[in-house]
């Protein structure tokens, strides 16, 4: 996909399985929205093939639209329409719509049902957008940054809702800026950067890559002489030691289920009582930063 001379999405190949949550992750301008809008039939792919539920999203849009739900990033309502009116309107366009009252309640919209769209807060507009995407009981929903700008409590409610959708057999494709969101929700994560797919996999597969664990030990008394080196030997080949200061050290290397026991045994034999001990694995954020080389999303 190009906009003028800018290539927005290039050589992207990915497949989504039914009944799963797929997250498309990437920095601003990575091509997430373009990818979604191509699947929704708003844009015609300039090359390659797009099939959604086996249908061509542009040529067979009429067949596709009843089966999918789309949450746009923003906007999309008459400024004078009330939230419940908007939702009821969309419900009537579908054959077997979701119960509007239930949807309003689940998305904490019941309190602002009588409020005109222009006076809804940003978060309320977002939730109404999600409700509009779900009201037709779709098989597949595309949600573009579903929780952007929502407060944590409501974000959690939206996550639970998306998980419930999956449990009920709905396929969810979401774009997000929040790594936490992808890690928590997604069965598969696709990381886009500058229009290209840079990584794909389950959150576990992506974060396991390299299987490097980091152990940090902080103590109140300086380590006994030679003790850190002995721990490195105990942990085996490939372990790297960094003495951060006399009271803290960091080890990184391969880890398995015995790693923590080895560290504990070492503590006992050297009479070391850690003030804190942490064993961390890579999270999606580390992977993301490695792949895209970006400081932030």
């Amino acid at each position: 996909m190009r906009y003028g001379d800018t290539v927005a999405v290039d050589g992207l190949s990915l497949t989504v399985e039914r009944g799963t949550i797929t997250a498309v992750l990437g920095p601003n301008g990575a091509g997430k929205t373009t990818t979604l809008e191509t699947c929704e039939g708003y844009r015609r792919a300039q090359g390659g093939t797009v099939r959604v539920l086996g249908l061509d999203p542009v040529r067979q849009r009429g067949e596709l639209l009843p089966r999918i739900g789309v949450m746009l990033q923003s906007g999309g309502a008459w400024s004078g329409a009330r939230a419940d009116e908007m939702l009821r309107h969309f419900a009537r366009l579908h054959a077997r719509p979701q119960d509007v009252g239930l949807l309003m309640e689940r998305l904490a919209l019941h309190e602002c049902g009588r409020t005109p769209y222009r006076r809804l807060s940003g978060g309320q507009q977002q939730r109404l957008g999600l409700a509009l995407a779900l009201v037709g009981r779709p098989e597949l929903v595309f949600v573009d940054e579903p929780t952007a700008g929502m407060d944590p409590q409501i974000r959690r409610a939206v996550w639970e809702l998306l998980e419930e959708l999956r449990a009920d057999g709905v396929t969810v494709v979401l774009t997000t800026h929040y790594l936490e969101e992808a890690e928590r929700l997604a069965d598969r994560v696709h990381i886009l950067d500058r229009g290209r797919l840079v990584a794909s996999g389950t959150p576990l597969e992506l974060t396991r890559g390299g299987t490097v664990a980091t152990i940090r030990i902080v103590v109140t008394q300086p380590f006994p002489a030679g003790a850190p080196e002995e721990l490195v030997r105990a942990l085996g080949d490939g372990t790297e030691l960094t003495v951060l200061d006399p009271l803290s050290l960091q080890l990184s290397g391969p880890a398995d289920s015995t790693t923590l026991a080895t560290v504990a045994a070492w503590c006992a034999s050297h009479d070391v009582l850690p003030e804190s001990l942490s064993l961390g694995q890579r999270n999606l954020e580390d992977v993301f930063l490695e792949l895209t080389g970006r400081e932030s999303l």
């Binding site: 089966r67 999918i68 739900g69 400024s79 579908h94």
Partner: protein, 257 residues
Amino acid sequence: MTAHTFAPAPGAAPVARQLLTQAGMEARLMLRNGEQLLLAVVIPVIVLVGSVRGVERVGFDLDGRPIDVLAPGVLALAVMSTAFTSLAIATGFERRYGVLKRLGTAPLSRATLLGGKVLALLLVEIFQFVVIGGVGLALGWSGPSGAGGLVLLVLAALAGTAAFASLGMLLAGSLRAEATLAAANLVYLLLLAGGAVILPASLYGGLGDVVRWLPSGALGEAVRSACDGALAVRDLLVLVAWAVAGSALTARTFKWE
């Protein structure tokens, strides 16, 4: 979690229901909006009352009683204000706010959406005709001549709606929302003043023949003839020609986003 609340059950509603839903929503929004209401009924009623008084004072050489000439003219104005100005402004802002984009995600075809818009215009026009016609009758208007006149009036209103709606959509689909707002109001004022809507084209002297080729003049003449029980073939054909030209151009130029 046991209820399977979200188990998929997709499907589009029957087209007839979609059409009525869409028309009802748009008509409601139009009549709820203060500025639109002003344009739809308040201004026409003021124009009707004011022009009846004014014409009596100025002593225009009208073909018949002033109210019998002016009431049909104001009905034509009402059609123009709704089908052109209101529609253009509403659609311009629908584009701006992404309403059309969002409606594009619902299983609503463009044909049904447009059909809903036209139906909404007709619903609003019925409301306008009842209010303006009522005021006219109260001012002594004799009304359309019999059932035949009423049928001809409906025919003229439909042709006028088609012509002005296609031009309104042309405007809304090519300009930005603010520019549409300005242009739609400006054109409305120009046609109100000099487009032979309210006053018959015959009062425009040599220009009369020119303004009858405008959609405003053609609509005004068609409505006036209809109320007299006459079929204004030429004026209706002019309106149809505008509708065809406007629709063809709109179909080529309309941008949904």
